[in-house]
Amino acid sequence: MVHGKKIDFGAYGYLLPVVFIILCFQVIPIFYSLAISFYEWDLMSDPNWVGAENFRRLADDPMFYKSLVNTLYYAIFSVPLSILSALCVAMLLNNPIAGMGIYRTIYFLPVITSLNAVSIVWNFIYHPEYGLLNKVLAIFHIAPRLWLQDPLCIMPFLAGLAGVGWPDWLPAGPSMAMLSIIVMSVWKGLGYNVIIFLAGLQNIPKHLYEAATIDGASRWQQFRHITWPLLSPTTFFVFTMSCIGSFQVFSQIYMMTPRGGPMKSTMVIVFYLYQKAFVKFEFGYALAIAFVLFVMVFAMTLFNKLYLEKKVHYS
């Protein structure tokens, strides 16, 4: 809202600090980084112009492809798992039950804690000898596993349970180490998604359910024809945010598998980028990775927006 007829040039003074810092640490660096990705530079010596060589090298880098596949595995398993579990908890909490506040407090607790601290706690839970998980499994006579050091992938493992082999040429899925990190991440983020879903559920008018009950609709039919379509804007939001987040996963990987996991099976893109930049000091190459990551996230978000959002029911 604008008041008075005079132009307030003083306004620029109020804006200056924020605009200046954003220019220095967001806008200028992004152009700078575009430039650096065409150089080979370790900061110690002078930068060396290599043109598109960083991107060409990236296209032939098997570790880059491995990190790409691992990131996809992380996304494909963690996103549906988070959405499904959060939706279940939110539906349970969306009933007039006693102790609602207590449950909400409990489910939200991991969200506020630091990822590093809970990663260490889960490291201990997953410890092959002293960890809680193997001890609990022992009660059910399930053999102990190495968890975070276990390179066995999920598809050969499931095939093994069914007593058949898994052909080498088929994708093997995430390793046990990656799955362990996924379970921890879902646990950490659950409460956040529950709160979002709960807000979405509470926006659905109650009279729709009353009418459906009178018409004799079963609980499943009510879910299928009322809850799911009317909740779709919320689900879409959670889905998009979770996808973006899962492409940028880093801290838990760094804390739980500091060397990239057994057979590099938890090496994800941002971890690879971090190693290239701040361990090997190949800044140009690391920036090439960053831009490929950005293009992927952007393309995915665009796809979600253009294609998936058509299926979203906005009232």
Binding site: H3, I36, L92, Y107, S114, M241, Y274
Partner: protein
């Protein structure tokens, strides 16, 4: 229980709650255990530290343990009071005290230093970013000036920049400025939050405009109006944003990891990651360190639960 259906709901929710809480329970109780208890292999799951377990839960092997423990303490006390050790006896080690793991990380591993650094950095970031963001939001909602919408859209646009790509050029810029290993590197880049500007602007636009005109006629300057009227009226959004900002800076890890390697400047998340890679199987101290890292957040959470949930739900933060 009015509805039998609710029993099923409670059962499911309680099962879920156990899954959510057990890691925390395991963390806290392990922080109070000594190394022998933690590294005990075998099938038995012991949640509580031995010293906390009520005696009726003890089995025959516990009596043996308690007897040995008492002997150990006695031997240690004898040694302290200057008694001669019996011939051939090994010198006893210091018996485990309840808070030994915490003492280990707080004093010997310098977590007191990391803790104070983090507190200083987080509070500075929270206060300055609220101040700067509210100034900018004030200008956007009350002033009329050329390029207003363009500047606002430009700021909003920066929220879409890829943060991973920014780590590297920012690191290079700071190292050229010789800012690596300074508090400035930890604080200055973090105190301009476009999100906060946007959030506060939404709130300021709802404030009654007559107030502004009346105050101006009464001779109130622009800054006085901001300081004496706008700020006091915007306590609720400021608290929500403040919690969001504080939580974000307390938990921030990658940026401090990159721009500091001096131990004196280490923040708690970085200290925790170094300790994690050095500690090996010292699970007791590791869990104590995790407890210390989480503790202030949990206290804040229980003090201001509503704002916490709001700050997360409205601001859409994800790590």
């Amino acid at each position: 229980m009015r509805n039998p259906f609710h029993l099923v709901i409670h059962a499911l929710l309680i099962a879920g709650s156990v899954f959510m809480l057990v890691p925390f329970l395991w963390m806290v109780t392990t922080a109070f255990k000594n190394e022998d208890e933690i590294l005990k292999t075998g099938q038995r799951i012991v949640i509580l530290p031995d010293a906390w377990r009520p005696s009726f839960l003890n089995g025959p092997e516990d009596e043996e343990r308690i007897r040995k423990e008492a002997e150990h303490r006695q031997a240690w006390a004898d040694l302290q009071s200057g008694k001669e050790l019996p011939a051939g006896a090994r010198k006893p080690s210091k018996p485990f005290e309840t808070f030994d793991n915490f003492r280990e990380v707080w004093d010997k591993q310098d977590f007191y230093r990391y803790f104070l650094n983090t507190l200083f950095v987080s509070i500075t970031i929270t206060v300055s970013s609220l101040f700067l963001a509210s100034l900018a939001a004030y200008a956007f909602s009350f002033f009329k000036f050329p390029w207003k919408d363009a500047i606002f859209m430009g700021l909003l646009g920066t929220m879409m920049l890829p943060q991973q790509a920014l780590l590297i050029p920012n690191y290079i810029i700071l190292s050229k400025l010789n800012w690596i290993n300074t508090y400035a590197a930890l604080i200055i880049p973090m105190i301009a939050s476009v999100y906060s500007v946007f959030f506060l602007r939404q709130f300021f636009l709802q404030l009654p405009k007559d107030l502004f005109e009346a105050a101006t006629i009464d001779g109130c300057t622009r800054f006085q109006f901001y300081w004496k009227v706008v700020l006091p009226l915007s306590k609720p959004p400021m608290v929500t944003l403040g919690i969001f900002t504080f939580l974000g800076s307390w938990n921030s890890f990658v940026w401090p990891l990159i721009v500091t390697n001096d131990k004196e400047l280490r923040v708690i998340q970085v200290g925790l990651s170094y300790f994690n890679s050095e500690a090996g199987t010292q699970w007791g101290p590791l869990m104590a360190a995790s407890c210390l890292t989480i503790f202030p957040l949990v206290v804040l959470y229980f003090l201001a639960q509503k704002q916490f949930v709001e700050s997360q739900a409205t601001t859409g933060m994800k790590e």
